[in-house]
Symmetry: C2
Subunit: 365 residues, 2 copies
């Protein structure tokens, strides 16, 4: 395209020819700060419209000093929940004629790259998803006066809107579900990442159990996995289940991938049964949670609503950059499956689980 | 930003002030076809450089009629293999100072939206991932003279580079692995999508088995799942295993999600054991394939190489739009896990599987 071949793009030369004006007049019409006679400008705009030149976002972006491109910053690409946000975000941005520019902030070079890109493309705004690293990044955007919205982050920065799932609601409900299922020796499986939603879930879980813990009816402790993935959950099983006399009978995991790993570790390493020996609750409702091998009770984050609200907040902030920060907490839904095995509770079971049965078919591997 | 607030962006006015020239001179320096005296131009460029104005990609894009934005077209966001491509693609594009503009082609409105965006942003090229629908879309891009590269698609269009995993190699190896594991009553589980990689895998599988089928040493039939997901695999288990006298003892599934569903269906619905009663092979090596509950033998597509080659082919085609089409076939690696249980074969086991053991710990659910 750049090698001088003919192109199907309508160029300013085409518009000039059509309008009967000079090419420079066309350029000046679309150039910030350039002077052009009103009737020339009108001719140019009319021809531009007729030829389909009117939709040159690059030209428009230069004039408006913004591009309708929105940076979507992801940290790594191995978190199934984060990936599930990309579809709804792309859709919501398209509804506003905005387009998502994908950026990876998992490595320092990528990070500085993404910042440079932002400056180059006069990006209209940035959506930071959970797991993206330092608050530093958001501060850089703010310094450049680029509007920022964050999904599932702690609301720590003035001038940034935060759209979260209601972690406290989930944590409290997890306590209720595990206790109703008969678990009395409970563990919250935490992670050591910088994002704070795990702590919010754990704090609400502990708060909901505080009375029973005081009365001695329930035991509660916290364990920490080495990371957020399936493999970390599998390893955490050693930590929790190696000592037979100290095994918990109920575990609330801060996300589903950890929970799936923990279940497999409990089964494969110690022959434990879920839910008979240990009940497990996750968070996120990733696709694997509905897999028959896990049938995991979990909390579904409303990814459609998270995306919709994030894009809407960003759009509002583009129009009014100095509005006060907002924090939204969107409700989560309890999805009960066999990992807590309570047949009689009112259920919001997902249609994703291909088969729902009350009795367990014992599946020998 | 657009509301007239002060901005950290360096504007043409800043450059004009710094260079001691008119704002119009700055504009003309960066405007396609506008005339400007060489010494003025030099002053402007020097100030632009000093102030950090030199990296305005929008200006440069207008001049070059392209943007360094590359469209990455995905069809839906529910295929774990496709999502795993996004990381490497983003990384490879960044190495060439290009940025991925994410587009969803799963719905007709999204499709036309994405086309409009392409035209608006003077996109430099497009990468179509497998699963994106009609060849029609690629034709539109070609008509607009936008370079196109496709990943895992049949090479049907002149002027389009195609980067595939070697499906024939995988299909032939799947036959070998299943036969070595002792399976004699084989099924290829196909899907009905428009993409042709499943057929290539099935055809190579059948070809590798042809001699044994002729001699009556092996039986082979094909079954068709209703779609590519876990739930479709689970349903396919009814088709394959409902009739005890006709059960296959080896199944090659066209992707891993199907294979995981099939395994769970075989276990939960019919109490079958994998691999004792039925051996299963998948394709893709998605994260779930390494999960202890599946421990699925599969073929790892080299997503890093697929992304690298696609971005490189696209870059070459940008420089030479009329070069002949190329089709690349990248080798896949066999990853042997317990679903075909052959302890003695040389193995390319993934480090992802947290535990590798020869003997099976029976995990009661």
């Amino acid at each position: 395209m750049s090698s001088g071949k003919s192109s199907a793009w309508v160029t300013s030369a085409d518009v000039a020819r059509h309008a009967g004006v000079s090419r420079s007049a066309v350029s000046r019409t679309f150039t910030e700060g350039a002077s052009v006679a009103p009737e020339t400008r009108a001719k140019v705009l009319k021809s531009a419209e007729a030829l389909g030149y009117q939709v040159n976002m690059l030209a428009r972006s230069m004039i408006q000093q913004q591009s309708n491109l929105v940076g979507v910053v992801v940290s790594g690409f191995d978190n199934p929940f984060l990936l599930s946000l990309l579809g709804p975000l792309t859709h919501q941005l398209a509804l506003r004629s905005q387009a998502p520019l994908l950026m990876d902030a998992s490595e320092p070079e990528q990070l500085s790259n993404s910042l440079r890109q932002l400056m180059q493309y006069r990006i209209s705004g940035v959506i930071l998803t959970s797991g993206t690293p330092p608050i530093q990044l958001a501060k850089e955007y703010l310094r450049l006066r680029i509007p920022v919205a964050m999904i599932n982050r702690e609301p720590l920065l003035e001038g940034v809107d935060v759209i979260n799932s209601d972690n406290r609601q989930g944590g409290a409900l997890a306590a209720e579900v595990l206790c109703r299922a008969g678990a009395r020796n409970l563990v919250f499986l935490n992670v050591v990442t910088g994002t704070l939603s795990p702590s919010a879930r754990g704090a609400a879980f502990a708060k909901a159990l505080a009375g029973q813990v005081r009365r001695g009816a329930v035991k509660l402790r916290q364990a920490t996995a080495g990371g957020v993935s399936y493999a970390h959950g599998f390893e955490a099983a050693r930590q929790l289940f190696a000592e037979p006399s100290a095994r918990p009978d109920g575990v609330f995991c801060t996300n589903d991938a950890l929970a799936c790993g923990l279940i497999d570790g409990a089964r494969a390493l110690y022959g434990l049964r879920v839910p008979e020996d240990v009940k497990v609750v996750g968070f996120d409702d990733i696709p694997m949670a509905a897999y028959e091998a896990y049938a995991l009770t979990t909390f579904r984050q409303d990814i459609g609503a998270l995306a919709e609200r994030a894009v809407a907040c960003l759009a509002e902030r583009m129009g009014a950059p100095d509005m006060p920060s907002r924090t939204l907490e969107l409700p989560v839904s309890l999805v009960e499956r066999r990992s807590t095995q309570i047949p009689s509770i009112e259920s919001t079971e997902s249609a994703k689980a291909p088969v729902r049965r009350r009795r367990l078919v014992s599946p020998p591997v």
